[in-house]
Symmetry: C2
Subunit: 70 residues, 2 copies
């Protein structure tokens, strides 16, 4: 099991949160995604190591940007 | 044909715009909805008169508020 926290910029509302959760939730190995809209913190849990580059790509796919990663 | 402009508060991103367009687009008689995110202006066209109360209810259903109506 792994937990990693990213900071994502550009999310402004609950729809943005949903988009990020959906895309990041589809990354291989990811079992949970929590998003704090106010801070932009995205906490990703996995059943094993999760590739930060894949998380970054998923965030970008959703239309946002990772500004800090583990 | 009718055209009316509303001002809606709370929209922060393209997802919000889509939600408003979808809900207001479902109001009886509405044939087009244009949204300017920066100003919050929502222009509603119809094939006849459109009930402003119904537009207000649709905006509320989408999660936002009409602050100015015709």
């Amino acid at each position: 099991m792994s937990t990693a926290t990213y900071t994502v910029s550009g999310m402004t509302c609950g729809h943005c949160v949903s988009s990020v959760k959906e895309e990041v939730g589809g990354v291989q190995g990811v079992t949970g995604v929590e998003v704090d809209l106010a801070t932009g913190r995205v906490t990703v849990t996995g059943d094993g190591p999760v590739d930060p580059a894949a998380v970054g790509a998923a965030v970008k796919e959703a239309g946002y940007t990772v500004v800090e990663q583990p």
